[in-house]
Amino acid sequence: MRMKRARLSEERRASLKRLAVYVAWFFILAIAETSFFANVTILPSAPNLILPVILVIALTDTRENTVIAAIAGGLIGDAISATGIYLSPIFYMAAALLLCLFAKKMMPRFLSWLALMPVTLAFVAIFSLLIALLYYRPFNIGDLLLSAVLPKVIGTLLFSLPLFPLVSISVSPFIDRRARALR
């Protein structure tokens, strides 16, 4: 009983450490999105790098951690970006839940991540459209899709490719192998 409790506490600590790493990633990526990618003139639109990380978490961590990370990611993203109302936590949480449903580990994780990227990109597109609908009016839906949504989706796909190995490696010291095997 005591051993089990100790084991649980150890796992919770590792889980918290992983969450801290995710928060650090979200912080870095939100800064990169709003400063670096937003200012590089050759990119028509800054990519959304938080949702691909949520997908990585959905594939490599527990559902609870994924949901918490998604809320944290949305919160950080909105806090650093210019938007005033915090819609991202709600949206990212919903996306995380759906991704967790799909993210059954049938294939090697990286392949699963690649296979689920279109779903993630669809979320990116929907979220960009939603933001555009809320903040930028009047608009033409065709123009919006071509000039804002499509570049964002393409940018996200391109720049998120190195994220899977980077995020996985950064949390690997805090993964309990036995817990993972049991999951």
Partner: protein
């Protein structure tokens, strides 16, 4: 589905909604939310770093994008330079033509008695001992053998052979040439002959000068004309650059630097053939 009814999930949803609600209220009343305040402050130096990096990337991109722009600009400028070069070349030709016409008019004005036919070089024949030029005027243009030929700078020589629409001319520096000449200042008479040693330098030799003849360096030499001469009088030939005395024959000779640049005959393209003049005829 059971998971969605779990306490954890409900708490998450409530927290998220509360955050959205609070931030919404803050935004509505025009305040910066607490998260934004904290994260915004912490993120500022990192954002600055990101912006600087982006600017550096933009600089590199600009270099490459400017390369294409510069290339096309360079092509446009090249085309412009080509057109200016062509214009300049045409202007040069016109200038040459103008100079030639001026000279032509000058000769015609100075010697109103001259009948002139202008001619252009169509061929050159050069060997170690002589140089002749073929001009585009011949018998059909009234050209005959021994007619004097003038080029830019003065007397060039004479016609030595005539075809139907061409003629061959020989310069006064050739060894077979001899022209009756006079010193403009003293009217001392002599004969300008081609000299094998001087011809390479584009010079000729004035011989048959009396030992007492008044001839000095810098004197201008003109054709003397007269009975039996194929050349009319008062055509400029050149100037004296050296005077030599021959003690044995007790005569003087003078080296004449010709007005026509025989050193660069390839630059001579236009000529005037004197077909007739008062007091004599080339015919």
């Amino acid at each position: 589905m059971k998971w969605f009814k779990s306490k954890f999930f409900i708490i998450c949803v409530i927290i998220t909604l509360v955050i959205a609600l609070i931030s919404g209220i803050f935004a509505a009343i025009g305040f910066t939310g607490p998260f934004k305040l904290v994260f915004g402050t912490v993120a500022t130096p990192f954002r600055l770093l990101g912006t600087l990096t982006a600017n550096a990337v933009n600089g590199v991109v600009e270099v490459f994008s400017d390369y294409g722009k510069l290339k096309s600009e360079n092509e446009v400028l090249k085309a412009e330079v080509d057109s200016y070069e062509e214009e300049s070349y045409n202007a040069g030709l016109l200038q040459e033509e103008n100079a030639w016409l001026k000279e032509y008019i000058g000769v015609a004005t100075e010697h109103p008695d001259f009948s002139l036919v202008d001619a252009k070089v169509v061929a050159r024949s050069t060997d170690a001992y002589s140089e002749t030029l073929t001009l585009d005027r011949g018998a059909v243009h009234g050209i005959k053998k021994d007619m004097p030929v003038i080029a830019s700078g003065g007397l060039f020589g004479r016609v030595i052979e005539v075809g139907l629409d061409w003629c061959r001319v020989e310069g006064i520096t050739e060894t077979s040439s001899s022209v009756g000449v006079a010193v403009e200042r003293s009217a001392a008479l002599g004969v300008a002959e081609g000299d094998i040693a001087l011809r390479e330098e584009g010079k000729c030799l004035m011989t048959f000068l009396d030992s007492s003849a008044d001839v000095r360096i810098g004197d201008r030499i003109y054709t003397s004309g007269g009975v039996g001469s194929i050349y009319p009088p008062r055509i400029y030939l050149g100037k004296v650059v050296e005077v030599k005395a021959d003690p044995q024959s007790r005569t003087l000779s003078a080296v004449i630097e010709t007005g026509v640049d025989f050193g660069e005959t390839e630059k001579l393209t236009k000529f005037m053939i004197i077909t007739g003049y008062d007091g004599g005829s080339s015919e």
